[in-house]
């Protein structure tokens, strides 16, 4: 998806809002959650993933990206000592997502392995108020005339219009609400990885797919404006830069171009640390940079944790 997020916005009938929604910001700013003490642990987590995890000199991205993610998730999960309702979450790896919708007479479909999905028993409450949702009616979607919006999409003969996260999970699954999707760009070679813009677009498409499938499972297949909007979050990283996204599905009526739109809040390109020096840099027999993590930004970890706690706190 080359023009990236803008194209994804048109395809999913979404309005973009910069920054994270106020509910998540509220969790971050709330000192009762003890986020300051976790900074030390987050720094250890980063050091472990980037410096200490291997018997060789420096771990490669394929190794440190998943390890960093696991370490951060471990710290987040340990918060359930304080908030017991956090144990009502379950991680599912390698789950396949499939969702179909029509967009101005073009049938679109999202399919594929969608990274790591975290499900919870309770849904996330809607983030935007009713006024904001109605206000999106006035918002006009950007078009890319003369480029057709389906550029760069693969045209495929679809024989079955599949529509489920139920592709992934059977009936009666207790953790039925998708909470957060995680995407790890861990390929060693830079060209195999998605660039940040493309990663954000991918996150948007998959979050939309999950939300749509859930909405159709809850409310049926007819296109309409949802009374209870479905909220799905998404985090993408390549081991150093983090992209945070909160997507709220307000309507499944995607054929027309007007009416209520969906909303997405994106916080892009948050770096968790500047540089991780595995071996001290020595110039002319003098150590210029000792080994360690430089430029650690605790705010990025706070956002990660806030997105994790969102919905149960």
């Amino acid at each position: 998806l080359f023009p990236g997020v803008r194209q994804a916005q048109w395809l999913t009938k979404t309005k973009l809002v910069e920054g994270l929604p106020p509910a998540v910001q509220g969790i971050m700013d709330n000192p009762a959650h003890g986020l300051r003490e976790l900074e030390e642990r987050a720094k250890h987590a980063v050091s472990h993933a980037r410096l200490w995890d291997t018997a060789e000199a420096a771990p490669r991205r394929e190794q440190y990206c998943p390890v960093l993610f696991e370490n951060l998730m471990h710290i987040c999960r340990l918060m359930s000592g304080k908030y017991p309702s956090l144990t009502k979450r379950m991680l599912a790896r390698n789950c396949r997502i499939a969702a179909t919708w029509e967009r101005e007479s073009i049938l679109l479909q999202v399919r594929g392995l969608s990274g790591i999905l975290m499900n919870s028993m309770t849904p996330i409450p809607p983030v935007a108020s009713k006024e904001e949702i109605l206000a999106t009616k006035e918002h006009v979607l950007e078009t890319f005339y003369p480029i057709a919006p389906t550029i760069d999409l693969q045209e495929v003969n679809v024989y079955k219009e599949l529509n489920d996260t139920g592709q992934c999970f059977g009936d009666g699954y207790p953790y039925s609400h998708p909470h957060t999707l995680f995407f790890l760009e861990s390929a060693n070679v830079r060209t195999d990885r998605f660039r940040p813009e493309q990663l954000r677009a991918k996150m948007l498409m998959f979050a939309f797919g999950n939300a749509l499938a859930k909405a159709k499972a809850l409310h049926g297949n007819d296109p309409k404006v949802l009374e209870q909007p479905v909220v799905v979050q998404s985090v993408g990283t390549d081991g150093q830069l983090f992209q945070f996204m909160v997507f709220q599905l307000n309507t499944t009526d995607l054929v027309s171009n007007d009416g209520v739109k969906n909303l997405v809040w994106i916080d892009s390109d948050q770096s968790l640390y500047e540089k991780a020096q595995c071996v001290p840099e020595v110039k002319k027999r003098v150590v210029t940079k000792p080994a360690g993590i430089f430029g650690f930004q605790p705010d990025t970890f706070k956002k990660f944790l806030a997105l994790y706690l969102h919905g149960t706190v």
Binding site: A55, P84, N94, R96
Partner: protein
């Protein structure tokens, strides 16, 4: 010589100088000649022992632990590769003799006070609840996926003082949910050939441990500061015994027998504080088996490569002590294979050898990270735990490392032995059918929870 003779004749009578004759000649301030020691480079036994002493002094004098480890494993020679997960017959006897370990069946005795009272009811008893934080959703025990039918009578135990409860219903539902998700709810493709373990039991174990650790972290502050590794590497290199080199340019020389363990547990939990000792350092709880054959008869094969000592992360990591390891047995060692080949008694041997070898490697590597080695033996015992499973059957092991001195010289006067407590493998559940877990075994879950709650006495 003539001058000496002349001085002798002169001395008795005359006093040339105003010198007080001392009772004994005054000792020289510094030795006149350097000490007479064996040569360093000669081809003799004395020279070899002098070289060994110089090497030991170098390692003792090393400034940092990394330097010590580097010097310890500097010389690369062919060494026996010891695999914790092995199909060799009676491997656990051999491994016990290599590592000087005593196997004690059953679990180590723990202080009764440390055992938390357990709520036996299937539903959450409102009355007998000690102050549990937050709002435990009352529907947890009745989660639709988990079908532990509440046949157990609702007997709320009286709150024993301030000891917090351990809600078995909650834990059971967490375990059942993890199991059902991996085996039933999530639609996965068919498992690859001979990769059954990666398909279902592997993810189940990861889910189970991470959710249980998160759940119990409120009760065990050590877990709250822990670090969870997925698929880490644990390596250890040591010498034990002596042999004569058989062929090659070094033929006929007496060499220590070198061993190396390279292990990949499925999961491990590392903590910043050490687990408390189970029995005192010098206790003797049994005998170490003595095997007269060469290790290659096990069968064990030699390889030569880098001598690694690694606990899962480098020395700089603050979480440098081990808490629990989780091992998943591969498809090659599944029970049906042994039953088919009529080797039923070897099933337990697989679990035991895995437990002993992996835990020895882990605890010994932890001890080396603290600066101990076979010349500087440990001053406090190192304790770690492990759970070996094949997805359904669980076996629990607890290991106490009392001594690292296993080389031929240091083992002579060393009365200490390492101790390993181990159980037999028991199933966690009988079968998973139709979204229900049948025959869930609470004992196994309780043992697992006790393992995770283990912590030093101060906390």
């Amino acid at each position: 010589m003539a001058a000496l003779g002349a001085r002798r004749l002169l001395r008795p009578g005359r006093r040339w100088f105003s010198e007080t004759v001392p009772g004994a000649p005054s000792p020289p301030a510094s030795p006149l000649y350097p000490p007479v020691v064996a040569s360093v480079t000669a081809k003799s036994k004395a020279a070899k022992s002098r070289r060994l002493q110089r090497f030991n002094q170098r390692v003792h004098a090393a400034a940092t632990v990394e330097e010590k480890l580097r010097l310890y494993g500097k010389l690369q020679r062919p060494k026996y590769m010891v695999y914790p997960q092995t199909f060799a017959l009676n491997a656990d006897r051999w491994y016990r003799s290599f590592t000087k370990t005593v196997l004690v069946p059953g679990m180590p005795p723990r202080a009764v006070a440390a055992k938390p009272p357990v709520a036996a009811a299937g539903t959450t008893p409102e009355a007998g609840r000690a102050p549990e934080p937050g709002a435990e959703a009352p529907g947890a025990a009745e989660a639709p996926g988990a079908a532990h039918a509440p046949e157990t009578p609702k007997t709320p135990e009286p709150a024993a003082g301030a000891a917090p409860y351990l809600d078995m219903g909650e834990l059971r539902s967490l375990a059942c949910d993890a199991l059902l998700q991996e085996s039933f709810y999530q639609n996965k493709k068919r498992p690859f050939l001979y990769r059954d373990q990666d398909h279902t039991p592997g993810p189940f174990l990861t889910q189970l441990v991470s959710t249980l650790a998160a759940f119990l972290s409120g009760r065990n502050p050590l877990l709250a500061a822990s670090s969870l590794d997925l698929n880490p590497e644990v390596n250890y290199y040591w010498h034990h015994g002596e042999e004569v080199v058989v062929h090659g340019h070094r033929k006929g020389r007496v060499d220590p027998v070198r061993f190396q363990i390279d292990d990949n547990p499925h999961l491990q939990i590392r903590v910043p504080k050490q687990l408390p000792e189970v029995v005192p350092l010098e206790s003797d709880l049994g005998d170490v088996p003595v095997i007269d054959h060469k290790p290659s008869k096990l069968p064990l094969f030699k390889k030569q490569f880098e001598n690694k000592v690694f606990i899962g992360s480098k020395v700089a990591d603050p979480c440098c002590y081990g808490h629990t390891q989780f091992h998943l047995l591969p498809d090659k060692l599944k029970r049906e294979r042994f039953i088919r080949e009529r080797l039923e008694d070897q099933i337990e041997v697989v679990y035991r050898s895995n437990g002993i070898a992996s835990l020895f490697a882990w605890t010994a590597a932890q001890a080396m990270y603290q600066g101990f080695w076979n010349e500087a033996d440990v001053t406090r015992p190192f304790v770690s735990q492990a759970v070996v499973t094949d997805g359904k059957y669980f076996a629990f092991f607890c290991y106490q490392l009392n001594t690292l001195a296993l080389t031929a010289e240091t083992i002579k006067n060393n009365p200490r032995k390492n101790i390993c407590w181990g159980t037999d493998s028991k199933p966690l559940y009988d079968v998973v059918e139709d979204g229900k877990v049948k025959g869930f075994n609470d004992e196994v879950l309780f043992q697992l929870v006790r393992f995770l709650l283990n912590r030093p006495k101060e906390l």
